[in-house]
C-alpha cells in the first residue's frame, strides 16, 4: 500500500514538473504553486521508499535486493540510496527541494520552466527505466542484504552530499539559460546564481571528501583516492564549479565576464548530469558501477542531448547579447582569477580525456586499456601546482589595476616563508625536485592566506580565509601523505614487533568471534611511540548473509599523521598473520582541508558582507 502511494506520488511529481515547465509564459504564482506541489509529492514518495526499507517490505524488488531484516536501522535507511533506483529518487527529491527554495524567492518564468523541464525528464527516467517501487510477484521471506562495504557512516552520508552538490548546480544552470533567453544577466540574478553555486560547491566538496575518507578507512590499503573513473567524474563538476563561482564573483562585483559566467554555469550542471549518467551507464569499470541496463543508456543519452545540447544552442544563439566589457590591467585580481578559471577547465578536460579515451579506443581499435593513477599523476599534478601559485597571487592582488611594485612588496614575505620551509623539508627528507615544486606552491598559498588573516578578518573576508586556507591544507595533505610515507607488508606471529617510521608496533593478540550480522577476526596491536603505549584493534569481518568480507583498518592518530594497520589472512602452518602497516604523514589535512572549504563556502553564503554586496 505504502509503495503504491509512493509510486503514485512519483507520477504526480512528474505531472507537476511538466506543468511547471509549461508555465513559461505565465510564471509567477502558478509556477510557484507547481514547484511546491512537486516538492510535496516527491517528499512523500521518498518517505514511502525509506519507510519500505525501514519495515523491510521484501515484496519490493529494490528492498529485497538491498536490505535485510537483521541490519541496523541506520543502514536500513541508508540502504535506500545505496542503489541505482533509490539514489535516483533521492536525487529527484533534492532537486525538488531546491526547486521549491528557488521558486519561493523568485518569480522568474523562464528559469523555473527550465528547472521544471529537467526535473520532468529525470522523473520520467526514474519512472520508466528505474522505478524503485516495482513489486516482486512472490514475496521473499528475507532480503539479500546490503553490500557490507556500504555499511559505514561515511558512505551513508556521502551520496546525499554529492546529490545536493550535483542538483544545486541546476539552479545556476537555469538562471544562466534564462538570462541568455532574456538577453540580460542582471546583478540580482548573478547574485542568486552565485549563492546556489556556492552552496552546491560546498556540499560537493564535502561529499567528495567523505567518499575519500570512507575509501581510506574501509578499503584497507591506506589509499584515499583510486583515480577510479567514477571518482574522477565527481571532480569534473567540482572543477568547473570552482571556476564558475569565481567567475560569478567577478560578474557580480565588477560586472564583467557575463558570457563566460553563463557558459561556466551551464557547463557545471552539464558535467554533473553527464557524470551522474556515465556512472549508471555501465560503460565504466569501477568499484562504483551500478548494475546496468542497456535501455537506460538510450534514455540517459536522450536527456543529456536535450539538456546540454539545448542549453548550448541557446548560448550559441544569444550569447552576444550579454556583452560586458570591463577594463582591467594585466596585474589585477581579475586577470589572475580568469587565468585560474582557465587552468581549472583544462584540468577538467584532462580528466575527461582520461575517462573517455579508453571508451573511444575500445570502440574504434577494439583494444581494451585502462587509464589509472600514473596517467593522472603525470598530467594533473604539474598543472594543479600552477593553480596554487596563481591563487596565492590573486589573494594578494588588488582589483582592476594593481601596481606591480607594491604587489611584489605584499607577496615577497609569503614567498620567502614558503621557500624557507621548503628548504628545511628538503634537508630533512631529501625530497625529489617534483615534490619540492609542489610543496613550494602549496606553501605559498598557505602563507599568502595567513598573511591576509589580519586584514580581512575585519572586512568580512573570513570565508576567503577558510576556503583558500582549506585548499592549501588539502594540497599539503595530498603531497605529504604521498611523499613522506613508510609501508610495511609482512607476516607477524603473536608477540612479534616491527618498527615503522619510529613507531614500535607489536602484535599482541588475535581473537575471533561473532557480532550482530558478521563474524570477526580482531587483532590487538600495541603501538609504542616516545615511551607511550597505545592499543589499536584492526579487524577483518565476514558477513555471512552477503557472503562478503571487509577489512576494518585501525588507525593510531599522531596529531595529523596516521599509523594505519590492517590485519589479513592467517597462515595456518606458521601460525602467523598477514599485516600491513602504513605511516601517512599529515594525511588528515586532506579531510580537514575539505571541511574548511565546505565551511568557507557556506560562510560566504551567510556572511553579512555578501548580503551587503547584494
Amino acid at each position: 500500500m505504502i509503495a503504491e502511494i509512493g509510486d503514485s506520488l512519483l507520477w504526480a511529481g512528474l505531472a507537476f514538473c511538466i506543468i511547471q515547465a509549461a508555465l513559461f509564459k505565465v510564471g509567477g504564482k502558478f509556477a510557484k504553486a507547481a514547484a511546491i506541489t512537486v516538492f510535496v509529492c516527491l517528499t512523500g514518495s521518498f518517505i514511502a521508499l525509506i519507510w519500505s526499507f525501514v519495515i523491510s517490505d521484501f515484496s519490493l524488488a529494490l528492498v529485497y535486493k538491498n536490505s535485510h531484516s537483521l541490519k541496523p536501522l541506520v543502514y536500513k535507511i541508508s540502504g535506500t540510496w545505496g542503489n541505482h533506483e533509490g539514489s535516483l529518487l533521492m536525487l529527484l527529491w533534492v532537486g525538488s527541494l531546491f526547486n521549491f527554495l528557488y521558486a519561493k524567492s523568485s518569480f522568474k518564468k523562464v528559469a523555473l520552466s527550465v528547472i521544471g523541464g529537467i526535473m520532468a525528464l529525470l522523473s520520467a527516467f526514474a519512472i520508466f527505466t528505474s522505478n524503485p517501487f516495482e513489486r516482486l510477484p512472490i514475496v521473499p521471506p528475507e532480503g539479500l542484504g546490503l553490500n557490507p562495504l556500504l555499511q559505514d557512516i561515511g558512505l551513508a552520508l556521502h551520496p546525499p552530499m554529492l546529490y545536493v552538490g550535483y542538483l544545486g548546480f541546476l539552479i545556476p544552470f537555469a538562471i544562466a539559460v534564462a538570462a541568455l533567453v532574456n538577453g540580460e544577466f542582471t546583478k540580482s540574478q548573478i547574485a542568486i546564481a552565485r549563492k546556489w553555486t556556492l552552496i552546491s560547491w560546498s556540499f560537493l566538496t564535502l561529499g567528495i571528501g567523505l567518499g575519500s575518507w570512507w575509501a581510506y578507512r574501509e578499503l584497507g590499503w591506506g589509499g584515499y583516492w583510486f583515480w577510479d573513473p567514477v571518482e574522477n567524474i565527481s571532480l569534473l563538476p567540482w572543477l568547473v564549479g570552482t571556476a564558475a563561482l569565481h567567475s560569478l564573483m567577478i560578474a557580480e562585483k565588477r560586472g564583467g565576464l557575463l558570457k563566460w559566467s553563463a557558459l561556466l554555469s551551464i557547463t557545471t550542471f552539464s558535467t554533473a548530469l553527464m557524470g551522474f549518467f556515465l556512472v549508471r551507464s555501465g560503460l565504466l569499470t569501477s568499484v562504483h558501477a551500478f548494475a546496468s541496463d542497456p535501455d537506460r543508456g538510450i534514455f540517459m543519452l536522450g536527456i543529456l542531448v536535450i539538456v546540454v545540447g539545448g542549453a548550448l544552442l541557446v548560448y550559441g544563439a544569444k550569447a552576444h547579447k550579454l556583452n560586458s566589457e570591463i577594463e582591467y590591467s594585466n596585474v589585477s585580481r581579475e586577470t589572475f582569477i580568469l587565468y585560474n578559471n582557465l587552468i581549472t577547465c583544462v584540468l577538467a578536460a584532462t580528466i575527461l580525456t582520461g575517462i573517455v579515451y579508453p571508451l573511444i579506443l575500445e570502440a574504434i581499435v577494439g583494444e581494451v586499456i585502462s587509464v589509472g593513477a600514473p596517467f593522472y599523476n603525470k598530467t594533473i599534478l604539474p598543472v594543479a601546482m600552477l593553480i596554487f601559485v596563481l591563487a596565492a597571487a590573486a589573494t594578494k592582488m588588488n582589483w582592476t589595476n594593481d601596481n606591480a611594485k607594491s604587489f611584489l612588496k605584499r607577496i615577497y614575505k609569503p614567498v620567502l616563508a614558503a621557500l624557507f620551509f621548503s628548504m628545511i623539508l628538503i634537508v630533512i627528507f631529501e625530497s625529489k625536485p617534483f615534490e619540492i615544486a609542489g610543496i613550494i606552491s602549496v606553501l605559498v598559498l598557505l602563507f599568502a592566506v595567513i598573511s591576509e588573516v589580519k586584514k580581512r578578518k575585519l572586512s568580512g573576508g573570513l570565508p576567503l580565509i577558510l576556503s583558500h586556507g582549506g585548499f592549501a591544507l588539502l594540497g599539503i595533505g595530498i603531497l605529504f601523505s604521498s611523499a613522506y610515507k613508510e609501508d610495511a607488508e609482512l607476516l607477524m606471529k603473536k608477540g612479534e614487533e616491527v618498527k615503522v617510521a619510529g613507531f614500535e608496533v607489536t602484535l599482541q593478540d588475535v581473537t575471533e568471534g561473532m557480532h550482530d550480522n558478521y563474524v570477526f577476526r580482531r587483532a590487538e596491536f600495541e603501538v609504542k611511540v616516545q615511551d607511550k603505549v597505545h592499543k589499536i584493534y584492526p579487524e577483518t569481518r565476514i558477513y555471512p548473509i552477503e557472503e562478503d568480507k571487509t577489512t576494518e583498518s585501525a588507525i593510531f592518530r599522531d596529531l595529523l599523521s596516521d599509523l594505519y594497520i590492517v590485519i589479513g589472512e592467517k597462515s595456518e602452518k606458521e601460525d602467523s598473520y598477514a599485516v600491513r602497516v602504513y605511516f601517512k604523514s599529515l594525511i588528515n589535512l586532506i579531510w580537514l582541508g575539505c571541511f574548511l572549504m565546505f565551511c568557507g563556502g557556506l560562510a560566504r553564503v551567510f556572511s553579512s558582507q555578501y548580503r551587503q554586496d547584494r
Binding site: N147, L149, G220, W221, G282, T285, V287, A289, A291, E325, E327, Y328, S329, N330, V331, T335, L338, Y339, L342, I343, V346, L347, A349, T350, T353, Y357, E367, V368, I369, S370, V371, G372, P374, F375, K378, T379, P382, V383, T400, N401, N403, E489, L490, L491, E547, D548, K549, T550, T551, V566, G568, E569, K570, S571, K573, E574, S576, Y577, A578, R580
Partner: protein, 146 residues
C-alpha cells in the same frame, strides 16, 4: 601612485588567447606523453601465451582456475587465471581482495617475468553477481556463460 594603463578589451582578449594557448599546449603535451607511457592494456591468458609483453604493465583478466590456488603463506599467493581455453600462472604478494575465490572473475595488474605473471594488485568485484566487464566480454568470446 603612478598612472597605469588599463587594457582595452581587444588586448585583454589577445593576452587571454596567448595564455590559453600556452596552458593548453602544456596540458596536451602532458596528456600525449602520459597516454604513451602510462596506459595499461587488458589481456587474456591466451593472448599472454602468444606474446608475453615482457616489461609492460598488463591487466590480466579471467577466472581463478578451480584447484589452482596455493597459499604459500598469508601474504604470498599463487594461482592460475584462465579464460577457459588457456591458463596463465600468477604470483601475488599482499592481501587478496574480499571476494577472491576460485571460479571468480578477477583482474590482476602486473608484469610477466619468465612465464609467470607477477601481480602487484588483484581486483575482484565486491559483489558475487558482478564480473568485471572486460573479463565477462573476453570470456563470452570463448563461449563461457554465467
Amino acid at each position: 601612485m603612478e598612472v597605469k594603463k588599463k587594457l582595452k578589451p581587444k588586448q585583454q582578449r589577445l593576452n587571454f588567447a596567448i595564455f590559453s594557448l600556452l596552458i593548453l599546449s602544456f596540458a596536451v603535451g602532458l596528456i600525449l606523453f602520459a597516454l604513451d607511457e602510462h596506459v595499461e592494456y587488458f589481456k587474456t591468458p591466451s593472448q599472454l601465451n602468444q606474446n608475453a609483453f615482457e616489461g609492460k604493465t598488463i591487466r590480466l583478466g579471467g577466472l581463478v582456475k578451480d584447484g589452482s590456488y596455493k597459499q604459500i603463506n598469508a601474504n604470498n599467493h599463487e594461482f592460475e587465471i584462465t579464460d577457459t581455453d588457456e591458463d596463465y600462472p600468477v604470483k601475488y604478494t599482499g592481501f587478496l581482495p574480499s571476494l577472491f575465490r576460485e571460479g571468480q572473475g578477477v583482474i590482476a595488474t602486473g608484469k610477466t617475468e619468465d612465464g609467470v605473471f607477477v601481480a602487484k594488485q588483484i581486483l575482484a568485484k565486491h559483489d558475487e553477481n558482478y564480473m568485471p566487464p572486460e573479463v565477462y566480454k573476453a570470456l563470452k568470446e570463448k563461449g563461457y556463460k554465467k
